[in-house]
């Protein structure tokens, strides 16, 4: 390789994807080696800056690992908590329905009672037994006709 490395070739070398010929050239050509070293130094400075910046923002403030235990117990209680919520929801839905059903049942009962009472009253207020009632009706009609003839 007689020419210097192109910009793409240098990027490829930085990305760890250079060919052996490119690597060989970078090792023997002072100019290309200088360019590579310069870029590597800037990238190293960038890395140090990010590390110091992260330290300043608390990367070294490692929290107490209690958070793992706390979350574990919260997780264990999780299903129980959901079961309680589900039970509460079921109670909230079922109790009004049950109350409503009881009310309707009582209403139906009372209307049945009223019908039965009416039937009993009708039965008690009869002067003759129900099978004889048509004859009594016939008799009353006949006597009314006779009175009309007179």
């Amino acid at each position: 390789m007689t020419n210097h490395l192109s910009s793409e070739q240098i990027s490829r070398l930085l990305a760890g994807d250079g060919t052996s010929a490119e690597e060989q050239h970078a090792g023997s050509c002072a100019e290309c080696e200088r360019e590579l070293s310069r870029l590597q130094e800037i990238l190293l400075a960038f890395s140090h800056s990010v590390q110091h910046w992260a330290e300043a923002l608390g990367s070294t403030c490692v929290p107490d690992t209690e958070f793992l235990r706390d979350r574990s117990s919260a997780r264990r209680l999780g299903p129980l908590r959901w079961a309680l919520v589900a039970a509460a929801v079921i109670i909230l839905i079922v109790v009004p329905l049950y109350k409503n059903a009881g009310h309707r049942y009582r209403e139906a009962d009372s209307s049945e009672d009223a019908v039965l009472l009416e039937q009993v009253n009708a039965h008690l207020s009869r002067t003759v037994a129900s099978p004889i009632e048509p004859f009594m009706q016939l008799l009353s009609d006949t006597s009314a006709d006779k009175v009309g003839d007179r």
Binding site: A15, E41, I42, W53, V62, T65
Partner: protein, 192 residues
């Protein structure tokens, strides 16, 4: 190389992870700064980074018995963090109102954290500008390119480790990294 082969490679070259998992408190102490740094650089919000890092260790804690040691503990934790950052990016659009109260980080201040080294004021100014340009360029990268870039150049992870952590093939990692480097260099050149 596929991700499974990558994991196998890492498992043979890294420390035994099972031993470390037995003492989870110690594991948190060791890996918290690294996971937090990656998450913070990715989301650029201190509160979100704290929450996501906690979530990462919480998920790891829950799954610790299922961890078979196919990869190193670091790769495993970063893999969880990568997924959390990806999900956070998806959900953030729905939680836009939260941004108004979140403690978003001033991204322009990154070069304030350059380590003090023996450099001339001119050289220092130049490096400062270049670091700012890299930081600004990472915002414009695609999510995958950004993730791969941070894992390679901030977390100093090997390509196979990145492949295992991101679920990409080694070839795909190289492609994303190449594109990311090209974009970053373009931004750096624009300063000259």
């Amino acid at each position: 190389m596929d991700p499974a082969a990558a994991s196998e490679f890492i498992a043979t070259t890294m420390e035994s992870p099972i031993v470390k998992l037995q003492d989870f408190d110690r594991l948190v102490q060791i890996y918290w700064p690294r996971v937090f740094r990656f998450v913070l650089a990715s989301v650029r919000d201190t509160d979100a980074a704290q929450t996501l890092t906690q979530d990462c260790f919480w998920r790891a804690y829950r799954a610790r018995n299922r961890f078979r040691g196919d990869s190193s503990v670091n790769t495993w934790l970063i893999q969880i963090a990568v997924n959390l950052v990806r999900d956070y990016g998806r959900n953030r659009r729905l939680r836009f109102w939260k941004r108004t109260v979140s403690s978003s980080v001033d991204t322009r201040s990154i070069s304030d954290w350059l380590p003090d080294r023996d450099m001339s004021p001119e050289a220092k100014t130049f490096v400062r500008e270049q670091v700012e340009a890299i930081w600004a360029a990472t915002v414009t990268l695609s999510k995958r390119q950004r993730t791969v870039f941070f894992l390679r150049f901030v977390e100093d992870m090997e390509l196979l480790e990145i492949a295992a952590a991101t679920g990409l093939t080694e070839g795909a990692v190289k492609v994303h990294l190449f594109r990311a480097v090209q974009s970053v260099r373009k931004r750096m050149r624009s300063l000259k």
